[in-house]
């Protein structure tokens, strides 16, 4: 606690750097993964291999990937892009499957009804399929956000700023309080960003919010059916 009292001024800057590293990767991951997921859902033949590649990418350990990106792209170890590329690879790998699931979860009947009413292809996507995929997408984006915030700390090992610096610096100097501060601050940041994504999801899908509020039985999912029994 003494360490925190003397060094708390450092933390806002580290948080800012941490956020600066996290947000672009999260945004890029969504922009890249959602169309791929939609494609994987629509074209089963492409879908299988795409999802396979995604799970392979996700299996690559973080530090080796960062090092490989560093060496192969020739980017500086301090460059934000090194981390952004690595984090986006993981984000996309994590989100592609959820995106495919999200579009698969859209009721075929509703999709057909929209087509029958005369929505054009793009219009069906933007006004029906995408909005209806949002609840599942948001659950995937939440998982991805938390994992991204946590992964940013690994960047400290190659000299990236952020809350990870508290972990490496604290370890090298033998200050447990500094490391603990880093762990807690990172977890808190993850929880806060997770909450923001959740709130954004609620705002985007008012029809599901009212369902929660009124406590009406929503469609029975497999999970809830199991829990009730």
């Amino acid at each position: 606690m003494k360490w925190l009292r003397n060094n708390w001024q450092e933390i806002p800057g580290l948080v800012a750097n941490h956020v600066t590293l996290s947000i672009p990767a999260i945004v890029f991951s969504v922009i890249i993964a959602v169309p791929i997921g939609r494609l994987a859902h629509k074209r089963r033949l492409i879908g299988g291999p795409v999802l396979g590649i995604a799970s392979l990418l996700y299996a690559i350990p973080s530090l080796p990937l960062i090092i490989a990106i560093l060496v192969l792209t020739g980017l500086s170890a301090r460059s934000m892009w090194t981390m952004t590329i690595a984090l986006t690879v993981y984000g996309v790998a994590l989100l592609v499957r959820t995106s495919a699931d999200a579009f698969a979860a859209v009721d075929k009947n509703v999709h057909d009804a929209a087509v029958a009413m005369g929505h054009s292809g793009m219009s069906v996507f933007w006004r029906v399929d995408l909005p209806l995929a949002v609840p599942v997408l948001v659950s995937g984006i939440r998982v991805m956000t938390v994992s991204t915030v946590s992964l940013v700390t690994v960047g400290a090992l190659v000299g990236q700023s952020g809350l990870g610096w508290l972990l490496t610096n604290g370890f090298q100097r033998g200050i447990a309080a500094e490391v603990a501060t880093g762990v807690i601050a990172t977890a808190l940041l993850a929880v806060i960003l997770d909450g923001l994504v959740m709130v954004a999801g609620r705002l985007l899908t008012p029809w599901t919010v009212r369902r929660h509020r009124r406590g009406k039985p929503a469609r029975v999912t497999r999970r809830s059916r199991g829990a009730l029994a």
């Binding site: 392979l56 080796p64 490989a68 060496v71 090992l157 200050i175 447990a176």
Partner: protein
């Protein structure tokens, strides 16, 4: 590009394949650590996950544990434990076990609770004991998802064991950290390639096992026929 050839040069150097810091030793350390950690994590998480899935009690706790664990930075847990227990294997093994539990736990829980309750009820109705229902009905039916959890846990441990080299003289991660300190790009990239290859091989093997088990569960006859042909 010359970094890649340098990395292959490092990998091909016979000196790197000998002694207590040689690739075979580091690989063995990496695998043994992974094996111990996954074993410990499974001993703890499988019974709990299966029980929660079977009774449908404590599902919220499992979800919360799995969610919260994702928010904890792995490097943070490793360095914190490293400071608490010093250099040695105790700190990384404990940290890695803690990190592996949520995936395995969530898999075991999800595998069991996703089973149609009518199936377990039917088993109960024909007079199976609860233990028998778990062992002979629920675990076999939930096996693909349970193994999915084990697969996720194993991959996470293999990956994080690389980071554990930051606090212990152990595993393939040493090449990465040594390379970083010495600005030895060949060693850094060579080590990275080793770890990536190991992780990808494990992923492919575990995915194949999971697919095979899934096939057995969803279509028992086809796999039996395959066995007969072998």
């Amino acid at each position: 590009m010359n970094y890649i050839s340098a990395a292959f040069g490092w990998l091909a150097n016979s000196a790197e394949w000998r002694g207590s810091t040689g690739i075979p030793t580091r690989l063995a350390q990496h695998l043994i650590t992974t094996g111990i950690v996954v074993g410990l994590a499974l001993v703890i998480s499988l019974p709990i996950g299966i029980l929660v899935g079977h009774t449908h009690r404590g599902a919220g706790v499992v979800g919360a544990v799995a969610g919260a664990a994702r928010a904890i930075p792995t490097l943070g847990l490793l360095t914190l434990f490293g400071l608490m227990w010093g250099i040695g294997l105790k700190a990384p093994i404990l940290a890695l076990v803690i990190l592996a539990i949520p995936s395995a736990l969530a898999g075991a829980y999800a595998g069991i609770q996703a089973i149609d309750p009518a199936v377990s009820d039917a088993a109960r109705a024909i007079g199976m004991s609860e233990l028998r229902i778990i062992l002979q009905v629920e675990i076999p039916l939930g096996a693909p998802v349970i193994i999915g959890g084990i697969r996720a846990a194993t991959l996470q441990v293999v990956a994080t064991a690389t980071l554990a080299a930051y606090i212990a003289d152990n595993g393939l991660g040493r090449y990465l950290f040594h390379g970083l300190e010495a600005h030895n790009y060949a060693e850094m990239l060579g080590g990275a390639m080793l770890v990536i290859a190991l992780a990808l091989i494990l992923e492919v093997v575990l995915a194949a096992i999971q697919r095979w088990v899934k096939l057995r569960v969803t279509n028992p006859r086809s796999s039996r026929r395959q066995q007969l042909h072998i």
